[in-house]
C-alpha cells in the first residue's frame, strides 16, 4: 500500500515537471515574440539619424539656442561666436558628446564654463553623434564669420515691463487669452504664485521664481523661443510663441520673482482631503438615494421564514397560515429551533 502511494506521488511529481517544462517552452516563445518588436523599432530609429544630418541649422535651433547664441551674448551658456578659435575641435567634439564626463574629468576650462553658467551642466543633446558634432562645429565656424548670424538670439524688447504687460502675460499664462500659434496655455502644466483655486498643473515645475532661475529676460526669452525639455519641445515645436507673447510672459514671470513659490505639498494634501470628503459624501448620498435598492432574495426569505416560525411558536400558531402549516407538518419547527419549542 505504502509503495503504491509513493509511486503515485512520484508519478504526480513527474507530471508536474512535465507541465513546468511545457510552461517554460511557452514562455520562451512569448519572449521571442516580444523581442521582435523592439528590434524592429531600433532599426527604424537609426534610419532618420542619417537623414537629419543635412538639417544641422534646424538641429541647432531645436537643441542649442535656448542656452546659446552666436554673437548675441551670453545666455545660460556662453556665446558660441568663434568658439572654434578658443578650443580645438577634438575638445569640442568630446565635450558635446558628454559634457558631464569632461567636467568630472577635472578639465580646467570646463570647470570655468560651469562657473560661468552658475552650475548648470550642459545636457547631452538628443541624437548627438561624432558626425553631428562635426557638422555643428562647421556650422558655428561659418556663422561666426557672418556679420549677423541667424542664431544671434531673440530680440526681446528692452523696454521696462509695465503693469499692462504683466496682466497680458497672466492672461496668456492662464489661457484666458489663447496663444497666437495655438500652443497650450502654460497653466495646464505649470503653476504660479497667484493662481486661484487649485492652482496650475503639476506636470512641470512651479514657475514663480523662474525669472530669477533663468537669470533675466534674455535667457528666459531664449528658452521660450525653443523650449528644449522632452515634454515641452514636441508641444511647442509646431506652435512657437510670438516675440510679444514672450515679452508679456517675461513681464509676468518677473513679477513672480518677488514672491515665494506656492507650497505645493500643502496644496496636495488639501486636494487629497477634499477628494476624500467628496467621495465619502457621494457614497453617503448614493446610499440615501437608493435606499430601497436590490440587495438579496434568498437570505431575507429565509430570515423572514424563521421569524414566522418563532412567532408562531409563541403565539400558538395562528399568526399566519405558514405557522399553522408547520404545526400540521410536525417536526420541521422543532428541528429549526429546538430551544424555542415548548
Amino acid at each position: 500500500m505504502v509503495d503504491i502511494m509513493e509511486l503515485q506521488t512520484r508519478l504526480s511529481e513527474l507530471s508536474c515537471r512535465k507541465a513546468a517544462c511545457g510552461a517554460r517552452l511557452g514562455e520562451a516563445a512569448r519572449l521571442a515574440r516580444k523581442l521582435q518588436l523592439p528590434l524592429l523599432g531600433l532599426f527604424f530609429a537609426m534610419a532618420p539619424t542619417v537623414a537629419q544630418a543635412q538639417d544641422t541649422p534646424d538641429y541647432f535651433r531645436q537643441n542649442c539656442v535656448n542656452c546659446h547664441t552666436i554673437g548675441g551674448g551670453r545666455l545660460t551658456g556662453p556665446d558660441l561666436k568663434d568658439v572654434t578659435q578658443r578650443r580645438d575641435s577634438e575638445w569640442i567634439i568630446g565635450f558635446l558628446q558628454n559634457p558631464k564626463a569632461v567636467i568630472d574629468g577635472g578639465d580646467a576650462y570646463a570647470a570655468k564654463l560651469l562657473e560661468g553658467s552658475r552650475g548648470v551642466v550642459m545636457p547631452i543633446a538628443p541624437g548627438m553623434t561624432r558626425y553631428r558634432a562635426e557638422q555643428i562645429i562647421k556650422l558655428i565656424a561659418a556663422e561666426s564669420k557672418l556679420e549677423k548670424s541667424q542664431f544671434q538670439g531673440v530680440k526681446i524688447s528692452n523696454k521696462p515691463f509695465t503693469e499692462q504687460d504683466r496682466v497680458k502675460g497672466r492672461k496668456l499664462f492662464t489661457g484666458v487669452r489663447p496663444l497666437k500659434n495655438g500652443g497650450t496655455a502654460c497653466n495646464s502644466c505649470h503653476s504660479m504664485y497667484d493662481l486661484s483655486g487649485l492652482g496650475g498643473g503639476h506636470l512641470g515645475p512651479d514657475l514663480t521664481r523662474v525669472y530669477e532661475r533663468l537669470k533675466g529676460r534674455k535667457s528666459l526669452g531664449a528658452w521660450l523661443m525653443a523650449p528644449a525639455t522632452a515634454t515641452m519641445q514636441p508641444v511647442f515645436k509646431s506652435h512657437p510663441l510670438e516675440a510679444e507673447e514672450i515679452f508679456a510672459l517675461s513681464a509676468y514671470f518677473e513679477s513672480g520673482a518677488k514672491h515665494s513659490e506656492v507650497e505645493t505639498s500643502v496644496n496636495r494634501v488639501a486636494f487629497l482631503l477634499m477628494g476624500l470628503a467628496v467621495a465619502a459624501a457621494t457614497v453617503f448620498l448614493f446610499d440615501i438615494i437608493w435606499k430601497g435598492r436590490f440587495y438579496a432574495v434568498r437570505r431575507p426569505l429565509v430570515e423572514a421564514g424563521r421569524k414566522v416560525w418563532r412567532s408562531g411558536d409563541q403565539l400558538g400558531g395562528d399568526e399566519r397560515h405558514s405557522a399553522s402549516n408547520l404545526a400540521a407538518a410536525g417536526t420541521v419547527g422543532e428541528q429549526a429551533s429546538p430551544g424555542d419549542h415548548s
Binding site: F294, V297, R299, G305, R306, S322, N325, A328, A329
Partner: protein, 489 residues
C-alpha cells in the same frame, strides 16, 4: 422544444449531463444551464420568477412600446459600474466540493476522518446554506415552496392544502434556456455580443465580444444567462449546437431518462414579432401560436423556399413533434409568456392526483363530473395558469382536459373498464378525435429517438454564405480560441 412534464421524474440526469459536458470548468461551477426545479418552489436562482425583484423581461409602457424592464438607453450610463437587480451569489449558491484529501491525509485518531465541505470559490471550509436544488422535493417548504411566485391569486385554503399531509403535491419543472423568439438578453446587451442564430434560432453569446456588462443576466427573466467570474464573460445554454450540427440531440435531451423532451423545427413569421409581444397578457399564448406557420401550407412552403430555407428543413418542420404538441394538439404551453420574450420551449402541463372529497367519514376520489380530477386536482388550476397561461386558466384547462380524455380513451381501448361512450364524450368535450388521441398517446408513450428528435440538416455552409464568402471563412477559422476567453478586451 417541448418538455412533457407529466413524464418528468425529477432525476436531474439532464442537469448532470449538461454539467459534465459544458459547465465543469473554473468560473462556471455555479452555473446550471439545465436545472430541474420542484414546483411549488422558488427555483434557481431563488425566486427567479419574481420580476418585481429581478426586473427581467419586457413590459409594455404607456405609449404602446415594448421596453426592457431592467435597463434602457438612459439607465445604462448611471448603472455603468453596477448593474442593479442582479442575483447575488447567495441567490444562486456558493458552489462547494468536499475535502476528500482529508480521508487520505488525516492523522491517525480515534474517529473516522470526514470529508468536510469546502467552497469552490475560495477553497475555505463552508457551512452550506443553499444549493442549486435546495428545495428539491419540497425541502424546506415553509420557506421555499410557500414563496413560489406562482401562488399569487390562490386562496389561503388552497395554499394550506398544498402543503398539508395527504394533500401535499409537487411536480418538476426542468428548465433550460428557452431560446426565445424575442430574447430580452439579446435586446439588452450593450456590446452586441448576444445573437439569435438565423438558421436555427439558437441564442448565443459571442465570447470575444462580451464585455462583462452583465445586462443579459439582469434582463433574462428566466435567469438563464450566467456570468463566468473567471473568464469575465457571460455564458448560457448553447442547445449543444455542436451536437445538433452533427445530427445529435442536445446532451440533456439525449440523456433524459423519462424521455420527456422533444425537439423539432417551427417555422414562424418573424415580422409579426413586435406586434405579438405587445398583446395583452391573456392573448399572448394565442398570439404566439398565430406566429407559427403551417409547414404543410403550399403557400408557406413556396415562401420558405424563396427565403432560402432548404427542403430538408421544411421536411423536418413537417415531421416536427413540437409542431404537433404546440399547434395541432395545443397541449404544450410556453412558461411565463407574460415576460414577453416569447419562449420557444413549451411545457405539457402535468396531471396531478385528485383531491379527495370527504363526505362524513368516507373519503372518496370519485365524482360524477367527467373532468372533476382536473378541476379538483391537487395542483390548483390557478397555479398552473400562473406558470403556463400568464394567469389565465383557459389554455391550461384545455391542455389538461385533452390529456385526460386521451387517458380515458386509451383505458376504454385497452383495459375496457370504461365504456366507449363516456370516453367518446370526453374526447368530444376535450376537442379531440380518436385519431388525434391515438397520435398523442403514441408520441407521448411509444416514442422513439427519431420521433422525439427531428433534427433538420443544419447547413452551416449555407448559414455562413449568408454572412460572408465561405472561402474567406474557411481561411479565417481554426480550432476556436487560442487560449480561451479571458478578462479584458
Amino acid at each position: 422544444m417541448v418538455f412533457h412534464l407529466d413524464k418528468c421524474i425529477g432525476c436531474h440526469t439532464c442537469s448532470v449531463a449538461c454539467k459534465n459536458v459544458w459547465t465543469d470548468r473554473k468560473g462556471a461551477e455555479y452555473m446550471w444551464w439545465n436545472n430541474v426545479e420542484t414546483k411549488p418552489g422558488t427555483g434557481f436562482p431563488t425566486k427567479w420568477e419574481d420580476q418585481e425583484k429581478y426586473q427581467g423581461g419586457f413590459e409594455t409602457n404607456g405609449d404602446g412600446k415594448l421596453k426592457i424592464k431592467s435597463t434602457s438607453k438612459a439607465q445604462i450610463v448611471p448603472n455603468i459600474f453596477h448593474n442593479p437587480h442582479m442575483p447575488s451569489m447567495d441567490d444562486y449558491y456558493e458552489p462547494w466540493t468536499y475535502d476528500y484529501q482529508n480521508l487520505f491525509n488525516a492523522p491517525e485518531g480515534a474517529d473516522q476522518p470526514t470529508a468536510e465541505p469546502i467552497s469552490m470559490i475560495d477553497g475555505e471550509k463552508i457551512d452550506v446554506q443553499s444549493g442549486p436544488n435546495w428545495d428539491d422535493d419540497l425541502g424546506g417548504s415553509p420557506i421555499y415552496a410557500e414563496n413560489d411566485p406562482n401562488l399569487a391569486g390562490l386562496t389561503d385554503q388552497q395554499r394550506l392544502q398544498l402543503s398539508s399531509v395527504e394533500r401535499l403535491v409537487f411536480f418538476y419543472l426542468p428548465r433550460i434556456c428557452n431560446h426565445c423568439l424575442n430574447p430580452c438578453c439579446v435586446a439588452s446587451c450593450p456590446s452586441g455580443a448576444l445573437y439569435k442564430r438565423g438558421e436555427d434560432g439558437i441564442v448565443l453569446i459571442d465570447q470575444q465580444k462580451c464585455r462583462a456588462w452583465r445586462s443579459c443576466v439582469a434582463a433574462c427573466p428566466y435567469k438563464k444567462t450566467y456570468f463566468n467570474w473567471f473568464t469575465g464573460k457571460s455564458e448560457k445554454c448553447i442547445l449543444c449546437f455542436p451536437r445538433l450540427e452533427t445530427g445529435q440531440a442536445p446532451a440533456c435531451f439525449h440523456s433524459c431518462v423519462g424521455r420527456i423532451r422533444y425537439l423539432g423545427v417551427l417555422l414562424y413569421d418573424a415580422e409579426r414579432l413586435e406586434e405579438v409581444a405587445k398583446l395583452p397578457d391573456d392573448e399572448l399564448v394565442e398570439g404566439q401560436r398565430s406566429m407559427i406557420l403551417d409547414p404543410f401550407d403550399p403557400e408557406i412552403i413556396a415562401e420558405a423556399k424563396k427565403n432560402g430555407i432548404s427542403d430538408g428543413v421544411i421536411q423536418a418542420a413537417q415531421n416536427s413533434p413540437v409542431y404537433r404538441f404546440v399547434m395541432e394538439w395545443k397541449i404544450a404551453l410556453p412558461p411565463h409568456i407574460e415576460f414577453r420574450t416569447l419562449p420557444m420551449l413549451f411545457y405539457v402541463p402535468p396531471m396531478s392526483p385528485v383531491q379527495a372529497s370527504k363526505a362524513e367519514d368516507t373519503i372518496t376520489h370519485n365524482s360524477d363530473k367527467l373532468f372533476h380530477d382536473i378541476d379538483d386536482s391537487r395542483v390548483p388550476m390557478k397555479f398552473l395558469a400562473n406558470l403556463f397561461g400568464a394567469g389565465h386558466e383557459g389554455v391550461v384547462r384545455y391542455a389538461l382536459a385533452k390529456q385526460k380524455a386521451v387517458r380515458w380513451h386509451r383505458r376504454a381501448e385497452t383495459v375496457g373498464d370504461i365504456d366507449r361512450e363516456t370516453a367518446d364524450r370526453m374526447l368530444r368535450e376535450a376537442d379531440c378525435t380518436r385519431e388525434q388521441a391515438d397520435a398523442i398517446y403514441e408520441l407521448t408513450s411509444l416514442c422513439t429517438y427519431e420521433d422525439r428528435f427531428v433534427i433538420p440538416p443544419m447547413h452551416r455552409e449555407q448559414a455562413i454564405e449568408m454572412m460572408k464568402d465561405p472561402h474567406e471563412h474557411r481561411e479565417e477559422v481554426g480550432f476556436g480560441f487560442v487560449g480561451g476567453p479571458r478578462r479584458g478586451l
